[in-house]
Amino acid sequence: MTSEQIIEQTRQAVIDGDAESSRKLAGSWLEMGLDPLLLINRALTPGIEDVGRLWEEGEYFLPELVAGAEAVKTGMQILEKELSQMKNPLSETRRVIIGTIFGDIHDIGKSLVATLLRANGYRVQDLGSDVHASRFLEAFQKEPADLICISALLTTTMIGIPDVIRIFNEHSCRSQVKFLIGGAPVTGSWAETIGADGYGADAVDAVRTANRLIGKIQ
């Protein structure tokens, strides 16, 4: 197979949501000694953009979107092993930490947001649900991120979000990161009041706002 064929097929694998092919093709790419970044930029990223476009056009539904994101993820996992030995521009920027706030186990919306962010090229660390403020900080201190995404579905738990921002302030990390928040009881004006940087009404809006806050991936 030529490198051009691999690129074409990998892009198609993402569009088809075919994680197995994506993994195999990424493996063949590395075996041929080619630059992993090239496959990311020419196949995985355009592939997921195609998926996003098909979704926006109404052709694709969430399961196709999730399958596309999975295909990108499996391809990335193979390529990243190689990338980590090189200077990796992806690991330096656009890293996202996401979680549902402490006391709250609603995680469906949060997981959707994580999936769409991933599908749009962000490297997402999902801390799950019921996440204490200190765990957001720990994750950040372990590996810095550009964006902290917090979800809350209960009026009783949303008040935990300002605690996360406060704890980042107390540890002088606030200026290094943006906060994007969402969930049914959260509103744009409340996000402003508590000093978050952005609010997303749904998963697509979350990607849009993330792009605005920390720059869209090329």
Binding site: I105, T157, D202, A203
Partner: protein
């Protein structure tokens, strides 16, 4: 008098058996997670397989069936004064406003805002004044009080301004004790509350197959104190449960069976309702639609299963995903109300709800009241009256056509033909033009205005004081204790 008692069935008996068989297989093989040490211990005492580290319980069918065999098929729910018992079960269908909306849609507006204490009170008063709602709910979450007592304080307002029994639930593990003490103070002690329950507590398992600490605690607390519990299992087909309606029903059945087993281990014979808030996940927008036909089909089918197993039933129906009380809202809520009645679902939470359970709208509550009335009319069916000899009547008026003047018309028209509700316009076009072309929302607002001028119920002073004392006791060591006192004084005036 004969009456065919119109009903709807989505499953055959054979279907029901297959779904229940599969649910038992799920419970025996993957089991459920129950985040509560006492529950794990109790299950082990009953000889159930248990894995402490993963908090998983495995329920084998034979043993389980003997534990849940004493679930009452019906129970009575009383009003604040221990009167007007409603039987929850059998063929009875009772609507109550959808519970725990975070937002409130002010009449006439199109933008929502966070709900407040004033809205809790308005909802309680409206429910009290609307006779078609025989049960109330703690339907909105007030944003102007400390979050950790928001669940309790909404119950306080509900009990203070509405006599009807109440569907409620906790947001915190600690709240059950506070809310129970409030109910006891109103009912006149714990025995009185047990004998004449006036509230039902929602307990929601997390799909798939998980009883969180909060919900399993509520389940156990209800079982022990004899307060009716309502399992609100919510498979989201395609998101947190199999995408097929059938598969979601298997999961729903497994979650409810597991809840009933846990509940009955702690309170054999305690009342428990087979309920839910499932949704067929919207695959484009990632939302949990309450008004979709597939959602309502899951509701009807699980209620059929619950009934078959001998439980009273509940569903979130007669609600909508629309953002304002518009055509979509009417269509979804009206269809839901009719289907819920045809499915003989005993407690139907939903009226007033918009925006998938997130918004409560007083205008819509009024409109839904009319929709529920239409559904109730259908339930009555077609009846042959004792003196109804159609051939005679037709012969009498075959020539003059004056059926309006016939004595049977006068005798039966009120029983046969319900007058339209206040938001249903049946007058002529000319009248409509003269009336300034009102639409349903405007008619609802007009009705709201008249209701506002009506006297409403208020808990008498001594009971109000002991009710408030229960809440103040819970706030005793909190920094907001004084401000809550002022808040209550202001709103309970």
């Amino acid at each position: 008098m004969n009456n065919i008692n119109p009903q709807i069935y989505l499953l055959t008996e054979d279907d029901i058996h297959r779904i229940i068989d599969d649910a038992w297989e799920v419970l025996e093989t993957v089991g459920v997670e129950a985040d509560h040490e006492n529950v794990l211990r109790k299950a082990a005492d009953h000889g159930f397989r248990m894995d402490k580290a993963s908090m998983r319980l495995y329920f084998d069918r034979k043993k389980s069936e003997s534990i849940i065999q004493n679930v009452p098929a019906s129970f009575k729910l009383y009003d604040r004064d221990g009167l007007n018992a409603l039987t929850i079960g059998n063929d009875n269908v009772y609507f109550d406003p959808g519970s725990a909306a975070v937002f409130w849609l002010e009449p006439g507006l199109t933008t929502i805002r966070r709900a407040t204490s004033r809205d809790c009170i308005e909802l309680a008063i409206l429910t009290d004044l609307l006779p078609g709602y025989r049960i109330q709910s703690t339907g909105v979450v007030p944003s102007d009080v400390p979050e950790d007592i928001a669940d309790s304080i909404r119950l306080l307002f509900a009990l203070s301004f509405c006599t009807k029994p109440v569907i409620t639930g906790t947001f915190n593990v600690n709240s059950f004790a506070i809310m129970k003490s409030m109910l006891e103070s109103v009912a006149g002690g714990s025995e009185a509350l047990k004998n004449r329950p006036l509230a039902v507590f929602d307990c929601c398992p997390s799909p798939p197959l998980r009883w969180s600490h909060l919900t399993v605690s509520a389940l156990v607390d209800c079982a022990v104190s004899g307060i009716p519990a309502e399992m609100v299992s919510m498979p989201l087909a395609g998101a947190t449960a199999p995408v097929t309606l059938w598969g979601s029903l298997v999961q729903h059945t497994a979650e409810c069976l597991s809840g009933a087993i846990i509940h009955q281990m702690f309170g054999p014979g305690s009342p428990i309702v087979w309920g839910g808030s499932p949704a067929a996940f919207d695959m484009r927008h990632g939302t949990p639609p309450m008004g979709s036909m597939e959602t309502m089909m899951i509701d009807l089918a699980y209620a059929q299963i619950g009934r078959y197993l001998g439980f009273p039933t509940h569903a979130y129906m007669a609600c909508s995903d629309a953002k304002t009380p518009d055509y979509q809202a009417g269509m979804e809520s009206g269809i839901g109300a009719v289907l819920a009645v045809l499915g003989r679902i005993n407690i139907v939470s939903g009226p007033g709800f918009l925006n998938y359970e997130n918004t409560q709208s007083p205008e819509k509550l009024i409109m839904d009241h009319d929709a529920c009335a239409l559904a109730y009319r259908l339930k009555k069916g077609i009846i042959q009256r004792p003196d109804d000899h159609p051939v005679d009547i037709i012969c009498r008026h075959a020539i003059d056509g004056q059926f309006l003047a016939d004595q049977t018309t006068r005798r039966w028209h009120r029983d046969e033909i319900d007058p339209p509700g206040s938001t249903i316009y049946r007058k002529s076009m000319d009248d409509w033009l003269r009336d300034d072309r009102p639409d349903a929302r405007q008619l609802a607002r007009k009705k709201l205005e008249t209701l506002k001028n009506q006297p409403h119920s208020r808990l008498e002073e001594n009971r109000l004081q002991s009710l408030t004392a229960c809440l103040m006791e819970a706030c005793k060591n909190k920094i907001y204790s004084d401000s809550i006192k002022l808040h209550l004084e202001r709103y309970l005036k």
